[in-house]
């Protein structure tokens, strides 16, 4: 009888349900809150995607996607962003094991690859505008620049954020707040890559399919 009670107590201690365990650690609360923000950000992107899909044929006699898009450049952009996301994942691992040198090297790789993506995208925009394909030209181009430009702005914000985080690692070290921010940054960067998957499929690849 006593044995049974003892075993019951041990089991109680080992499997406390989440509802009785008190508040979750701050790391989980912060990451979950940031996850909700990312999902709302993706919902905002879905509105821009929907606007693009509705307006894609309204070229008003101007250039169409098939005439403007350069697939080689888009493939390079995709490769840069994917590699940057991978480097960011490796940086998260280095953050978890607190290897400072590895964090710097992998953050630098993340930054350089992300900046290369951005440079290619800006060159593409400049080429289009030089050909007269400005956002004012047609509803299709307005929707295109709104959608792709919004993603580009997010990438720019991510690069600034990464720079700030490296300064914080250098000055403050791996304290809990800095680590949580780095985790949030990694979530942000991976989510941007997910948006880019939808973007290159819907805009660039479907744009050239007849």
């Amino acid at each position: 009888m006593n044995d049974a009670v003892a075993i019951y107590d041990v089991r109680q201690e080992a499997f406390v349900p989440a509802s009785e365990a008190g508040p979750a650690p701050k790391r989980i609360v912060v990451a979950y809150g940031f996850w909700i923000f990312l999902l709302s950000d993706i919902i905002m992107f879905s509105a821009l995607f929907a606007a693009y899909a509705v307006l894609v044929r309204n070229t008003a006699g101007g250039p169409t996607g098939a005439q403007l898009f350069n697939q080689v450049s888009v493939a390079a952009e995709t490769a840069f962003l994917l590699a940057s996301s991978y480097a960011c994942g490796l940086m998260s691992l280095a953050v978890a094991s607190r290897e400072r040198a590895a964090v710097y090297v992998r953050a630098l790789a993340t930054f350089v690859l992300g900046a290369a993506f951005l440079a290619l995208e800006l060159r593409e925009f400049a080429n289009m505008i030089a050909q007269g394909a400005t956002p004012q030209r047609s509803a299709f181009l307005s929707a295109f620049f709104a959608l792709v430009g919004c993603h580009g702005l997010h990438v720019t914000a991510g690069l600034v954020w990464l720079t700030v985080m490296m300064a914080q690692v250098a000055v403050k070290g791996f304290r809990a707040t800095v680590q949580r921010r780095l985790w949030c940054f990694a979530l942000f960067w991976h989510a941007l890559d997910i948006v880019w998957v939808g973007l290159f499929t819907l805009v660039y690849l479907m744009g050239v399919v007849p």
Partner: protein, 126 residues
Amino acid sequence: MTDTRYDRAPGDASAPAEPSGVLVYTTGLALAVILTATSFWVANTSLLWGPGVSMGLVVLAVAQMGVHLVFFLHITTGSDNTNNVLALAYGLLIVLLVMAGSLWIMNNLNDNLMPSPELMNMPMRH
């Protein structure tokens, strides 16, 4: 076992019974590269049936998003991940409503309000 009572945070790779983190990220990268390369090939080849290409591209994109979610963001079907998956499911519901709803309504408006040129020139028959 007491540390499993909390849910897992999104992006958290530190579960004990899983393969090492580098392997997870590298697997994700390899799968993403294969899917991306397939997407670009599908869009540029003439070997496939034309009208099916768009649907194929959508399937490949959804598959790649799934790869990113599982291998990069570490969203799994485990019981410690329920909250993350539920939030994701709700987000997806809204995304689908916005996208499908916009396309459906705007296509209907286009059909009802803007007759195509051939239709406008057609002689009326009673």
